[in-house]
């Protein structure tokens, strides 16, 4: 596998490869999101308890899942950066972090918006919301640390260490918050858990999830390209490209 992967560790190849991916990701994301949103927001049945507000689920849950998933992928990139000294992994971390933070924020905001009709208040210290909030802090820490360094490579390595430390702690934080929640509020708030989802809800949810996932992929590829350019600005291939752009 290493032999197959190796050519992609060249920044120039990776730059053009991700460039080719972006339009495909865009098309797939647009298709899936249009279909999924239409099915979810218009066609799927309203919940017999929650009514129409349940439809926020089609945005909230994909965003929440992606926010966690992106943190893990960032940690994997951090691992590659530390162990194999992959310079491209540095660019990947810097590309993923703000997108992950954005999805975390979306999950938080939609969660709060969902909470207003359900609980009558914008914020409740529900286990999932609290976990998302802490995840947002972790993301912001990663971004702030990366920005604090003048030297990009040094910053990227520091961020790699932090992302790995964070990913080890994430499950511990998650379970301790969940346990804390049951301790203090009792098991009353299970509205997000949707124990057995009807097929009519499940299919639009899956479509929406993949739509958001491809959207995230496209955004990350775009940011990744920018990061690769910024980190290789001294290389001849970047200069050649910049010159070609000018003419």
């Amino acid at each position: 596998m290493w032999k197959w992967l190796h050519p992609y560790a060249n920044p120039e190849v990776a730059y053009h490869f991700t460039g080719k991916l972006i339009p495909w990701f865009n098309i797939i994301a647009a298709l899936l999101l249009v279909v999924g949103m239409f099915m979810g927001l218009a066609y799927s049945p309203a919940d017999y308890q929650q009514g129409e507000t349940v439809r926020i689920f089609y945005i909230h849950v994909p965003a929440a899942i992606l926010s966690m998933g992106l943190y893990f992928s960032m940690a994997i990139a951090g691992f590659c950066a530390l162990v194999w000294q992959l310079k491209l992994a540095h660019a990947a971390i810097a590309a993923i972090a703000p997108i992950g933070a954005a999805f975390t924020a979306i999950a938080l905001i939609t969660g709060a918006a969902w909470g207003k009709p359900m609980w009558g208040t914008w914020w409740i210290w529900d286990a999932r919301l609290t976990s998302e909030l802490i995840l947002l802090f972790l993301y912001l820490g990663v971004i702030a640390l990366g920005n604090a360094f003048d030297d990009k490579n040094q910053g990227a390595k520091a961020v790699s260490v932090l992302a790995l430390v964070g990913v080890v702690n994430l499950p511990i934080i998650h379970y301790s918050v969940e346990w804390w929640n049951t301790l203090h509020q009792g098991a009353t708030v299970t509205k997000f858990a949707a124990p057995s989802m009807a097929m009519s809800m499940y299919i639009p949810f899956v479509i929406c999830f993949f739509g958001f996932a491809f959207l995230a992929g496209s955004l990350i590829c775009k940011r990744f390209q920018g990061q690769v350019l910024a980190r290789n600005s001294l290389r001849p291939w970047v200069k050649k490209m910049a010159l070609a752009e000018e003419h």
Binding site: Q85, D150, D151, S233, L234, P236
Partner: protein
């Protein structure tokens, strides 16, 4: 001594980029037993970066350093036993006395601390042993750090501007010690802005030039 062990430290194809500026590129260096190397060059040409890369503190953009044929990252403990690096800052604690500072420096490398007072004599700090380092001058701080040179078992010395803030007499004694060490088969790599007063046949100079981006 066979040839393989006389090539103690080698650097292949080193390049260093700092703050988007190429400091040096494709540098190949070989350090043999008995060598004294002076790294020269104007400010900002990467002298300190080169020394830090050789010591393993700074990661080069490209290339690698081998100690006795092994990458230094893979023989940390062995390499650090054989290495004495003195950087820009002398690493002297203001809150500790001169003697405590020296003792700690020696303990950290597993050296015996019985002869500390004699060592202080070597660097003209005799009688200061119980003074807090906070009350001493920059030159005296450097002397505390340098005192280790008279006891160490380390063969490879990497000294970044060792003569800064040292008086003439001290410089002379230090050069003497450097020569002595090389004569015993050690390697000394140092940067300095002054000319060394050692016999020119005895040391090599590597001058780093400013590299401009392609």
């Amino acid at each position: 001594m066979n040839t393989s062990s006389s090539l103690v430290l080698t650097a292949d194809n080193l390049s260093c980029i700092r703050e988007e500026r190429i400091l040096f590129d494709e540098l190949d260096l070989q350090f043999k037993n008995g060598d004294i190397w002076q790294i020269a060059g104007a400010n900002g040409t990467g002298k300190t970066s080169l020394l830090r890369i050789l010591a393993g503190l700074h990661e080069p953009e490209n290339g690698n350093i081998k100690y006795k044929g092994t990458l230094i990252g893979q023989c940390n403990e062995e390499y650090h036993q054989d290495l004495l690096y003195l950087g820009h800052s002398p690493g002297v604690k203001a809150e500790l006395t001169v003697l405590e500072n020296l003792q700690f420096n020696l303990q950290l490398c597993g050296q015996n601390t019985d002869q500390c007072v004699q060592l202080l004599e070597q660097v003209d700090l005799y009688g200061f042993s119980d003074t807090l380092a906070a009350h001493l001058s920059a030159g005296q701080h450097r002397r505390i750090a340098l005192a280790r040179l008279w006891l160490t078992d380390a063969r490879i010395w990497i000294l970044d501007e060792p003569f800064t803030a040292i008086d003439k007499q001290g410089v002379k004694r230090l050069e003497q010690r450097v020569l002595e060490h090389a004569d015993q088969g050690g390697i000394v790599i140092l940067t300095t802005h002054q000319d060394l007063s050692l016999p020119t046949s005895r040391y090599q100079t590597l001058t780093l030039e400013r590299v401009f981006a392609l």
